[in-house]
Symmetry: C2
Subunit: 218 residues, 2 copies
DNA sequence: ACAAATTTTTAGCTTTGCCTAAATTTTAAT
DNA sequence: ATTAAAATTTAGGCAAAGCTAAAAATTTGT
């Protein structure tokens, strides 16, 4: 697979996930930042290679083989994102561009060992689930922190209240988008939470917890 | 810079280091596993871009700019090799192919943070020195372990005695090619050494030490 | 239903990096 | 000093992946 073929497969995967039907030539062109005519050319090639199902003027869908390929690329992309954030101190919003390059590195051992090195993460810094080696993956859902079950881990993906005092609080406590948070325990008395973030335990009020969104694995 | 251009620059750098004069078209072709005519084409392009000095039929040398570029690629290659061995448990001889791909990833921050993550290593798993960010680097030399000064660190790069009993000893003590070894102390009485390898201290006889080659930074 | 608008495909051309075959230059041998 | 051998370059082509312009198919609006 060439680099370009991989990009197309990944984009067809992402576009096809939302929709129910097949993916249009124009939508692919837009995402690839290329012209529809170029897309037609590539689709033909992918079709010949058995990666997509294609009928003229009808758009494309991934074949089973194409889907497997797409998931392997997504897996690599998300594992590298975790690596960049957890090991190299990249922030949440800096990782995409670099992961976009790293996802094309070809070495099965590299991916497996990276996975192991990272402790087999299930979720990336944007809260998206990481496909397993054989292409399975969990669905993720967005929940307010105070609704996350005890013991669960999630990624901080947003705030409900975006007032300066709240944001300042988050900043002071070093809670940022992309951070991984686990719920250790909940106080029955006031609904306050004990959470673990960056290997430290902190205690936060229900008020805080009900204004922070996490993305967790179901 | 395209991927291919980077490969040429790196190869010209490596070929030019040994020789005194300029690098021949044929030698580049051999290393690139391509034809001399293709090399000529590429050399012209590199020359136009100011990366090499070229006169027809006279071979090429790197320009100052070309050298800087080459060193940056070598730096990335060797840092990734350290990463693969130290963090992902790759062995000495498995890293090259993967590093060959990783060296082309474009992100200055990635390289800087990787360097930091690895503790600013000066030497790669083959014992070759890693250029600093601004392209300087130390010379490395090969020494028998018993001749390495106390306090120095080096990479195990070979054995003098390759008899089964010796190799078995190395295996039992988990000493392998590519391992980083530091000399902690030397006993005056029998010349035996205290060394640190993989974060553990062990004690070895002078006999052993005088049959193991390390590559150290001068 | 059917013309207009939109989407998709085709045809033909460009660039990059490679190739083969032939021409040219340099090097080596007698 | 010539000539044979080896190295290098030129010329002309090919495949991948893109582009523009024009043709064809589909969808939409009334």
């Amino acid at each position: 697979m060439t680099l370009s073929e991989e990009d197309y497969i990944k984009i067809i995967y992402h576009l096809g996930k939302g929709d129910l039907g097949s993916v249009s030539t124009n939508s692919i062109a837009e995402r690839m930042e290329t012209k529809p005519s170029s897309v037609t050319d590539m689709i033909k090639k992918l079709s010949e290679k058995g990666l997509v199902n294609y009928k003229k003027y009808q758009g494309v869908t991934l074949s089973e083989y194409g889907l497997k390929t797409a998931l392997s690329i997504v897996r690599k992309h998300r594992l590298w994102e975790v690596f960049l954030v957890e090991k190299l101190e990249f922030s949440w919003d800096e990782v995409h561009e670099v992961a976009e390059q790293l996802e094309h590195i070809k070495s099965e051992k590299l991916v497996d060992m990276l996975d192991k090195h990272l402790g087999f993460p299930q979720i990336d810094p944007h809260g998206d689930p990481i496909p397993s080696k054989d292409g399975e993956f969990k669905k993720s859902i967005k929940r307010l922190l105070n609704e996350v079950p005890i013991g669960k881990e999630g990624i901080c993906v947003g705030v409900k209240d975006s007032s300066p005092p709240f944001l300042k609080f988050l900043d002071k406590n070093k809670i940022a988008l992309g951070d991984s948070i686990s719920v250790i325990d909940k106080e029955e008395f006031d609904g306050s939470l004990h959470i673990k973030i960056r290997e430290v335990d902190i205690h936060i009020s229900d008020q805080i917890a009900s204004n922070l969104y996490l993305r967790i694995i179901e």
